[in-house]
Amino acid sequence: MIKLRIDDMDVQAEEGWTILDAASFYGIDIPTLCHLDGLTPYGACRLCIVEIGEGKNAKLVSSCTYPVYEGLKVRTHSKKVMGARKLIIELMVARCPNSKTIQDLASKYGLQKVRFKLKDEECVLCGLCVRMCKEQMMSGAIDFVGHGKDRRITTAFDEKSDLCRTCGGCMFICPICELRCQGPNPPGALCGSCMNMSSTCLDHYDDAQCFMVESGCGTCVREDAKEKPKEKT
């Protein structure tokens, strides 16, 4: 057994574990996006960063790829980590504002404003589908092409792949290509309602949430529509 300290607690881990493995074993929550048990650790989303080392040597590493060793000191929720994680989520929201997974992360970390211009990408390049296809489905029909900001996931030469058995594993695992939240907010806005459990339209609907009521217009954030429910009550 390897002895290490996570968040000022003495813990033990088995040889070959990563920091993420050890932390999850002890119930410490580290958010991940590109990590899934059963697939090779990839370390691309950087969401699972933790701080190791002390003083001048302190640095951020991705916990999903970093192996534990004797005497390692890890801080999973230090100021530096939380700040960096929040900014990473901000970058993610700016790239894929319509993903529920990312929106949920944003509200969990209290992100209130996105300072960057919103894009509307349908892929955050976490590579889960690529690894799923290759490692679990033994197919390898899709992979990354291009580099820098032109990096994307596709089949070879953008043509229908003979290797693809249309198993749907890639779609099943994707954190982004899911139906956008059907709540009242416009696409891309930071809503966070499902995470913090506040009702969307408390002023106007006392006994039910707006989207449960037939007359619920779902447009309460729109200035021009604000008057509508009042007329009915």
């Binding site: 370390g43 192996p67 970058l91 211009k117």
Partner: protein, 640 residues
Amino acid sequence: MNRLQSASDLEKLRKQILSKRDPKKPCIVICSGTGCIASGCEKVSVAFQEELEKQKLMDKVDIRTGGCPGFCERGPIVVVQPEGIFYQLVEAKDVAEIITETVLKKKVIDRLLFTDPQTGKKIVLEKEVPFYKKQKRILMDSNSLIDPAKIEDYLAIGGYSALAKALFEMKPEEVIDSIKRSGLRGRGGAGFPTGTKWEICHKAKGDLKYVICNADEGDPGAFANRGLLEGNPHSILEGMLIGAYAIGSSEGFVYVRHEYPLAVKNVKIAIDQMRELGLLGKGILGSKFNFDIKVVQGAGAFICGEETALMASIEGKKGEPRQRPPFPADRGVWGKPTNINNVETWANVPLIVNNGAEWFANIGTAKSKGTKIFSLVGKINNTGLVEVPLGMPLKEMIYDIGGGIPKGKKLKSVQCGGPSGGCIPADSISVPIDYEALKELGAMMGSGGMIVMDEDTCMVDTAKYFSKFLLDESCGKCMTCREGLERLLEITTDITEGKGKMEDLQTLAELGSLVKEASMCGLGQTAPNPVLTTLRYFRPEYEAHIKGSCPAKVCKALISYHIDPERCTACGLCMKNCPADAITGKKGMVHIIDQGKCIKCDTCYDVCPEKFDAVRKISGEPAPRAVPQGTPIKKREAKQ
């Protein structure tokens, strides 16, 4: 040539080569590095060949096409030995004169000599040229002493004696200890102690170990490794042999850029010659040491200079870094322990083994030993490769060796360490340059690229340029590098286009430190340096952009051009050259720029003769109202 079976065979061969050479025989050394090839040295060397044949002097005069001595600004360079007479900017038409006057009559041709720009004196001898005088050329010096395609030349200057010494007089541990004591640190940029790196790999468990020479020098403006590989490939290969012996490796790779054709060619020639002599293969020099080297060519990706991406590329995979640990010393190419060093690091090894660790440790500063080759480029008089002891202040490098800034302009900043290095402001240039000092300043040693910028450079534009380069060259694997750099570029672009906000500076700083701290590999971890250092040292310039002016008058969206009616002489040059037809005017009438049509290409500013100096660049305020069409030019008073 026969295979060498022992160290004494090697010495015998060396003596044999030296006995055939007469140090007093005149020899014309023509630089054949890439810089001089670009300035036309091939024509010059053909002309020398023909001229010597014509004058039937083939037996009496030698010609040597040597490697790059570094003074690329003045190429093609010809040095007449044994006197060491230094001729610069030589053309084919000068060849006959050099042979008849200098080689035969020992007369110096004044017109081809180098003039010191600071004193105005003509300089005859190579060693007297101020560009070389302040350098300490332990690596670069041999470039002009040998023809890179001839192993005999390398043997004649003592080549492979360090290998023989290591193989027969030292244990692997002693070699590692010697490198450790010398204080040699990785020349690829990060500055990890080489001896320690070797020791880790030496101790790693594995039946097969690899050594790699990282020659994937992709930084714009950096060509130090190129100069060494093209000029003296054997020194690097000898270093690799010694390293492989110390580590216990039996296979090596030279990973060199496909864009360096001459380097690829010279390394391949060198490897073939070594194999012929038995310096590669089984039982090198009759010992039990087996080693072979393969050349792998990079396909042009900048990221492949990063060690884990480079190894993926050698394995035939896409050049993409992976998170370390495991470090290459534990799991490298195909999962085997691998030791990877930069070209310059390898080239230092034979010198340390031959001259001793103490000799090397005496050069440099307390923590950074030895010399470093810098590529001095940009707005500087003497462009070229300079090799200086670590610890030399930038100021000496720029003014004493580099000869200062052209046209008497003011130095603004030096970008050190390649595209992901930092911009050091002009008031910090007296700091002695070593690994720690550069890190302190926010820059890094990198591959030794040193881009000098004068007062006409806009720092925001510079940060934008390098961010663009790095975003294009990022592999895009990790979120922070790909998205972070894209946003850094987006914000800096907005600022240069006058669309920035004051809050953006805070966002830039936050985002920059995120990319630096949270990215996976060396590229991402250093990529925000240009933005962070310019923000640190040139913040007022960012603020000026946000307020609507570009102090250096570079950013197109923030400048306008105006013709001063007081100075315009209606010469028509600007009108003729304007690609947008934005300038109107007639003979004797003041020329006017139509601001609506102007594409701000800078042409009118460039072509307006210096003595008139009528075209003005204006930033931060609207262009003055143009004078009405047909205003006659002002008659200049005759100067008396």
